[in-house]
């Protein structure tokens, strides 16, 4: 990150090139996706700057260039030099352009001053047609049963650049199908176009040499090293970058046609990294998570664990109804009664456990409640293993938010024994728990039994929700809006993908009601206003606004 910023701030020399007759200015160098070091700007980057789309399969902006698919072949010319090595000038004063007799792959060829790139000539059109024809002759053309259908570059480019009929009359090459490449990955070798994106991602981004190509020529196939499985924490990214239907996710395959999926921008909650994701859902059911590009956080990737950690959202035992003293209840009554009792609670008799899995806005509202009651507060630390790429040791998605909003003790979790002690000694009589099973974190069920008031909000049932006097069903992040602050201080928005289950409501909504009932102060009733109010009141979030966060968030000092 610092490297890219440095490069961005240093003035980079620019020069002019023309793309399809339109002259644009391009930087001489651009940062290498791997190292961040400046490397010569390529034709495909120049075309992107000129908003000219150059079709490609093997090229991926985040991977080393392979140059094997040949789909991005373009024609080009450079200023002609005379015998004196000086540019030759036309009669009209323009530099004479020497057109290259050979095409070049736009992904690997550097641009030079005065270069002219041609992407829409008959020659280029014919080359694209030729490459597409070659790619399709041995392809099974099984689009109706292919999971990639609808987001397949073979389909898209066939429409854009292909021919309408086939002249191929030979037998197709047969290759293995439904190969279990690894525990989460299925491979259809017949669909594979051998672009090697999966191999380059695994080798150069993950640092794993597990997959490669065996056989040669048209019989080449992708394979894991003999006797081993393709299994690392990032294997499912290969499914995303596979431009065709060769690599499919065992979790997602045959579940849903992609064109029925509603896409919602969200953030992964499996650790403090906060990978940006797109949630694919239909009719209230989530079918997949895919990484969403954010170069400040996760580039184009996410870990397999985070990607597959969505199934609990649809669990049948989700808490769906308000419970009042073990009986059914209504939101209005419950919130009214809780407010009455909290308002009457003597200062120092209240404790709040606010999970670092709640959103910034929810924690902000809980901190208001805590301040009003003089409560002892804390969150629950959740530590695990980290890796060198994306997985953080801190498994809470919003530990940083809990710290910045003053709810987490320092160190996080150190107030939990104090709470247990207070309950045991009878000084703490009211406990408000949001999103944690405190019986697993030092406040056992028998202690909970001593409380005069136990208010619990959660998503799934546990020993704490079982002991609650008031149980308020909350929402999974995919069912509400809000922000998290990542471990590195990135404040990022996420949006609702599916409706909450049953009577469950987003926590920030009913917390707003509760605080109104307790304090009589009416805060903002929508997310935008709430976030902006928080940004105004909490120094750490100063200067932020909901709208200003955009799709990729903003960094705050931590």
């Amino acid at each position: 990150m610092s490297q890219t910023e440095k490069n961005a701030s240093a003035p980079v020399e620019t020069f002019s090139v023309s793309v399809d007759g339109r002259t644009i200015s391009v930087p001489r160098t651009m940062p290498d996706p791997q190292t961040g070091k400046p490397v010569a700007t390529t034709m495909i980057q120049a075309c992107a700057l000129a908003k000219v789309d150059v079709p490609h399969y093997c090229y991926h902006p985040k991977l080393p260039v392979a140059g094997n698919c040949r789909m991005c072949l373009v024609e080009f010319g450079t200023p002609a030099l005379g015998p004196d090595r000086k540019p030759v000038i036309n009669a009209d004063g323009t530099p004479k352009i020497a057109k290259s007799p050979r095409p070049a792959i736009a992904c690997a060829t550097p641009v030079s001053p005065g270069m002219e790139i041609y992407t829409d000539t008959p020659g280029v059109k014919q080359m694209r047609e030729g490459v597409l024809e070659f790619l399709l002759i041995n392809h099974p053309l099984d689009c109706p049963i292919c999971d990639q259908a609808g987001e397949c570059k073979l389909q898209e480019y066939s429409i854009d650049y292909g021919q309408s009929q086939s002249r191929f009359v030979e037998d197709k090459v047969r290759k293995p199908k439904a190969v279990e490449l690894g525990p989460r990955i299925m491979l259809d070798d017949e669909r594979c176009i051998l672009c090697t994106r999966c191999i380059r991602f695994t080798r150069d981004v993950v640092g794993d040499d597990k997959i490669g190509i065996i056989q040669r020529g048209s019989h080449s196939t992708i394979a894991a090293y003999p006797g081993t499985q393709f299994d690392n924490n990032y294997t499912l990214n290969t499914v995303d970058i596979c431009p065709v239907g060769a690599l499919t996710s065992k979790d997602f395959r045959f579940k849903m046609r992609v064109w029925f999926l509603k896409e919602s921008k969200s953030v992964c909650t499996s650790c403090a990294t906060g990978c940006n994701v797109t949630i694919g859902s239909r009719e209230g059911t989530i079918y997949r998570y895919e990484p969403r590009q954010n170069d400040a956080v996760n580039s184009c990737w996410m870990c397999d664990y985070g990607r597959l950690n969505y199934k609990w959202i649809g669990r049948p035992d989700r808490l769906t109804h308000v419970r009042n003293q073990g009986q059914g209840g209504t939101w209005a009554t419950a919130l009214h009664e809780i407010a009455e009792r909290v308002r009457r609670a003597p200062a120092g008799s209240v404790a709040v456990v606010a999970s670092a899995r709640q959103t910034n806005e929810e924690l902000f509202l809980l901190s208001k409640l805590a301040k009003r009651t003089g409560a002892l507060t804390d969150s629950v630390p959740r530590l695990g293993e980290a890796d060198r790429l994306l997985v953080a040791a801190d498994k809470n998605p919003n530990g940083q938010g809990a710290r910045l909003l003053g709810l987490a003790a320092d160190p996080m979790g150190s107030n939990l024994p104090r709470m247990a002690d207070g309950i045991r000694r009878g000084t703490i009589k009211t406990l408000i728990v949001f999103g944690e099973d405190v019986t697993r974190h030092g406040i056992p069920a028998e202690l909970l039994g001593k409380l005069e008031l136990l208010v619990v909000s959660d998503i799934l049932p546990n020993a704490t929700t079982a002991a609650a006097h008031y149980l308020l069903p909350g929402c999974a992040p995919a069912e509400k809006r809000g922000t998290f602050t990542s471990g590195k201080g990135r404040v990022q928005r996420f949006f609702k993908a599916v409706e909450p289950k049953g009577e469950a409501r987003p926590e920030w909504e009913f917390l707003h009601d509760l605080i109104y009932n307790v304090t009589g102060q009416n805060g903002f009733v929508n997310m935008e206003g709430l976030f902006n109010q928080m940004a105004a009141e909490i120094p750490a979030f100063q200067g932020l606004s909901w709208a200003g966060l955009g799709d990729t968030g903003a960094s705050v000092p931590i």
Partner: protein, 493 residues
Amino acid sequence: MPQEYKLVLKHADAPGYTRDLDCYLRHGGYEILRKVLTLPTRELADGKKLTAAEQLREEVKLSGLRGRGGAGFSCGLKWSFVDRRSGKPIYLICNADESEPGTFKDRQIIHKDPHQLLEGMIISCFANDVHLAYIYIRGEFTEGARILNQALQEARARNFLGQNILGSGYDLEIHVHRGAGAYICGEETGLIESLEGKRPYPRIKPPYFPAVLGLWMCPTIVNNVETLCQVRHIVAMGASEYARLGTPNNTGTRIVSLSGHVRKPGYYEIEVGKVTLGELIHDPAFGGGLREGRRLKAIIPGGSSAKVLKAGEKFKLKRRGPDGKETETEVDVLDLPYDFDSLMAAGTMSGSSAIIVMDDSTDLVAALANISEFYAHESCGQCTPCREGSLWMSKALQRLTHGQGRAQDADYLLKIADNIPGGRTICAFGEACSWPVQSFVAKFKDEFVARGAADEARAAQAATAAAAAAAPEPGHGGPAVQPQAAPLAGAVH
């Protein structure tokens, strides 16, 4: 009378000549190396000083030596591209992956005079400040690899290799690396990948020009076996003397591998351009003519990837007369001087200098099917047009040679082949697999069309007969039986 000119093969086939070091030394072996290692720095008129290595590089440039591997690129120019300021080591690799069908010249040198290659290599390494070099030899040359290792051992024992060679202070080690049996390893960047222990996928250029980013991303020179031998003789004779051999821009000697329908197939060393294709085929000093009663049909002049030449073809060649004036003359294919430029002017290439002669008994459709099967088998599979196109063409040709052709297959083949070469692929394999198809079909189109048409006529006849035999009973309007061609599965792979 055209004659052989034996420079590289001077001793190889002499009676009693053996490949051991002592025999080589008795024939003046390693004397040139000795001379080179003690070459003093030369001061030019302008006061500039040329080191021994710089003088040698200059000599090679002046000699006009062109690579004997296939591309015919200037060796001096290749050496001049080497990045000498990177601070990285410079490597030299001897390309002994001789695998172009029809080619068997480097093997003669390796088997019969390995020390000549080593001396040429050591001189070339010294000229380029190389301290570690490799001989990449094709896997099938097991005997060649054994011979080279033996020769290296002998050379090490006498300090022609190793530390402080002959007291000069110059260190060099050479290793033999055996390939695993892939034609593509002869492509220099594929070779480098293979030497690094990877699949031999040729590298994209830019940016991976071997002279800058070669072996282990260091500056690297890759030269053919014969080319490195020629270096020894250039240094021995002096560049200007050497350049008198052959013809302008096509200097020196070249070993030609002559095969096919000639009476005396074999390898012949000639002065480049001093002998014509026709002489190579017909002269008693060379091929000795065709078999009794046979007429010439076609010539592949530079290894199986070179475009085929048709008997009776005429070409316009530009020739510079003694007065310096360029005149265009029409020459018959047999009168083409066997050199780099004339064959290029004839639309083909001298390639690896392997001539395959085909007389009128040859089934050219089958010949092309054979060549195409080879290239389909050897395509590395890295880039799309070659990977898919080479097998497609091979399958079509298998069909055409197995009774399932169509009259339109000639055009079908040309259209496939046209989408492969000309910069559409990473390496020249795209050209290698498509040029034979383009040239065979274009020049012998009638044969290809006739073959397909005959198959179609036969199939139509069979269909009529089958329909008559299966004629429905009156009143039963069943469908006519569709003639089914036997599947070709197994014919190609």
